[in-house]
């Protein structure tokens, strides 16, 4: 079996504040296979962005990754010194953020930014880099790339900018791309173009993608597998078809049915009562038990870890091994 592109084991991220420590990510493990698109979904505060940040070593004080192992194609990358991590970031792992202007420097032409990135990570001449930059811009769908290569970010629309960011990310042919809400700030029609582009590019370059989003629709369109996060824990992970059509965790089920779809007519939407617990008021046992309609005694005291149930891994006492069975 080939090495997964990304392997995360027992990840734990804590924030140290005045009132003690808050556990933002609590013992999360998952893999992303080569060439696979993994969608990481959850609502705000569930910890999906923190997971992405932890993988690239961007958790800042007062937060810290306190436990876990992160491997990129088998190489351990957690706890690398800052210089080492900087080499990985940009060359082997690319990041796409919600706001393209966080990745693009408004003062430099887009062509120059791509060339600079390439030359920082690869051994390549200026002329070659520029040729490749134009080719990349064309690949990501910038019309008349040869003439637009000298534009400044502000001269482009939001969708165009995000395309440029994709070109910037791909210029070093990374093994993994982490995209944190890449289309949330874009119009629906542009969003459709960009996610289709991400899928096509990932396929062409054989890059794995970790797509962080709150939008299940986007995940349904392009992801191969999906991981559902809740209150810093992984509650369900499996293929997109399995999870969306036959979710096993009560939270995932609630999430899927709370989303209004185009097919559904008018009528009350199924809602999940209550709200996700805040980090400093985490319940014992299963984090979801206070809102779960299937709650029973074990849920209140013991935290369920993900176990295999059919083709899905789900963290819920209703599934997996029989209650009372040993490890």
């Amino acid at each position: 079996m080939t090495e997964p592109a990304l392997s995360v084991r027992n990840l734990r991220v804590e924030f140290f504040g005045r009132r003690g420590k808050l556990v933002a990510i609590d013992d999360v493990s998952f893999d992303v296979a080569k060439g696979e698109i993994l969608g990481m979904v959850g609502e705000s505060g569930a910890g999906k962005s923190v997971t992405g940040a932890a993988i690239v070593g961007l958790i800042e004080h007062p937060g810290r990754m306190t436990r876990g192992e992160i491997r990129l194609k088998g190489d351990r990358i957690d706890h690398l010194p800052a210089a080492g991590m900087r080499k990985i970031r940009g060359k082997r792992i690319g990041m796409v953020f919600q706001d393209p202007l966080s990745s693009l420097n408004p003062l430099f032409q887009i062509g120059d930014q791509i060339v600079e990135t390439m030359r920082a990570h690869l051994d390549i001449s200026k002329a070659d880099a520029r040729r490749r930059a134009v080719k990349l811009l064309d690949e990501v769908g910038i019309p008349a790339a040869a003439s637009r290569v000298d534009s400044y970010p502000h001269q482009l629309s939001g969708g165009m900018r995000q395309r440029v960011v994709l070109a910037l990310v791909l210029c070093t042919e990374p093994e993994l791309i982490i995209a944190d809400e890449p289309t949330t700030a874009l119009d629906v029609s542009v969003q459709a173009q960009i996610i289709a582009l991400i899928k096509a590019l990932a396929k062409n370059y054989g890059t794995s993608v970790m797509l962080i989003t709150h939008d299940l629709g986007v995940v349904a369109e392009i992801a191969d597998r999906v991981a559902v996060m809740y209150a810093g824990r992984l509650v369900e992970i499996g293929s997109v078809r399995d999870v969306l059509k036959g979710a096993k965790h009560p939270y995932s089920q609630g999430l899927v049915s709370a989303i209004p779809t185009l097919r559904q007519g008018a009528g009350a939407l199924r809602q999940i009562p209550g709200a996700m617990p805040r980090l400093h008021a985490m319940p014992n046992g299963c984090a979801f038990h206070t809102r779960c309609q299937f709650v029973f005694e074990r849920c209140r005291v013991e935290r369920p870890m993900p176990v295999r149930s059919g083709d899905i891994e789900v963290a819920c006492w209703l599934h997996g091994k029989a209650v009372g069975a040993g490890p």
Binding site: V188, R241, P260, R263, A275
Partner: protein, 331 residues
């Protein structure tokens, strides 16, 4: 139609002068620049119904919200609510009286409540402004909180002590405090998580039933709109291109832009197996819109007439559409 219409909007135009300063224009030999945010928009909302406006950025939907509520004056056109005109310049006292009937719910639950005011004061403001006597205020505030699903003890807290969904509930409570007839909702759930969105939308529907409210619902999310509206208007670059009830619009979209929009919505039901129509380009700049039909550069069915003549919104079969192709029978 106008007999029981709560809100009537006729020929609404809103243009902004975005010319550069005089000196710059002289040096660069530029003319004046005008941004047409809203062009010739007309619609009517019957009582106790919800009219939704959908569009992407630059479509003018937020501008229309502000026009209807009176935050900005229209360049041309007429708006009347519950029979009295909002756009009439005269009679400021009458206008103030009318304001009671119109309220607004905003998109950002974090910015729509004054962070330094306690909830009690936030809810008391409309009661005070519209003349509700003090002793009745004491009972009205807990009543409002209960109506939106919050606790009466929450009145003493500050907005930052609540989550996004709860803050939006407070905003809704503020909007219904003075018993309005009509509420403009500008993307009320766009900033909320999906599960919270469901709660808020359900709450809004309940309140509409209970209190007989009329809504103008602005959104870019088509699925949400399908769920809430009795009639939907699709906007493109400031003009209405199609107006139809939800079933007709979603099951058989007729305007090419509507079709494109619906096609672009990611669909949970058919995973990875959808046949997509290729989508061209991006929305044009509203300062320099294309001639004729604003959508023609992206439309696969355009002809010469589309490039020169602006199509008017016309009643065709079960809906209104603004498209030469459809009125000519080509589509």
């Amino acid at each position: 139609m106008s007999a029981d219409a709560m809100v009537v909007v006729e020929g609404l135009w809103c243009q902004f002068d975005v010319s550069r300063p005089w000196l710059n224009r002289i040096f660069n030999r530029e003319g004046r620049a005008t941004l047409t945010a809203v062009a010739d928009v007309s619609f009517a909302i019957p009582q106790r119904k919800t009219f939704a406006l959908v569009g992407e950025s630059g479509s003018g939907k937020s501008t229309i919200a502000k026009l209807v509520v009176g935050l900005i004056p229209p360049t041309r056109g007429h708006i009347s609510i519950a029979g009295s005109s909002v756009t009439d310049k005269s009679g400021s006292a009458r206008r103030q009286h009318n304001r009671r009937r119109i309220q607004m719910i905003f998109q950002d639950p974090y910015a729509s409540l004054n962070p330094r005011w306690r909830v009690r004061r936030i809810l008391a403001e409309p009661l005070r402004v519209f003349g509700l006597e003090k002793d009745r205020r004491e009972t009205r505030i807990p009543e409002l909180l209960r109506l939106v699903g919050l606790d009466s003890a929450d009145a003493g807290k500050f907005p930052h002590e609540f989550s996004g969904g709860q803050r939006q509930r407070i905003a809704i409570a503020r909007a219904i405090a003075a018993e309005p007839a009509f509420i403009v909702c500008d993307e009320p759930t766009s900033a909320l998580d999906v599960s919270v969105q469901a709660q808020i939308l359900n709450l809004m529907r309940e309140l509409q039933e209970q209190l007989g409210l009329t809504y103008l619902f602005i959104s870019h999310n088509l699925a949400v709109v399908r769920h809430m509206a009795s009639d939907i208007g699709v906007l493109y670059l400031g003009r209405l291109v199609e107006v139809a009830p939800p079933n007709e619009l979603f099951d058989r979209p007729r305007h090419p832009y509507t079709q494109m929009l619906l096609d672009a919505v990611p669909d949970l039901e058919s995973i990875g197996s959808r046949v997509r129509r290729p989508i061209e380009g991006e929305a044009a700049n509203p300062i320099n819109p294309p001639t004729g039909c604003a959508f023609h550069p992206r439309c696969p069915y355009r002809n010469d007439r589309c490039k020169s003549e602006v199509p008017l919104l016309m009643q065709i079969a079960d809906r209104k559409v603004a498209c030469h192709g459809i009125s000519e029978g080509r589509l």
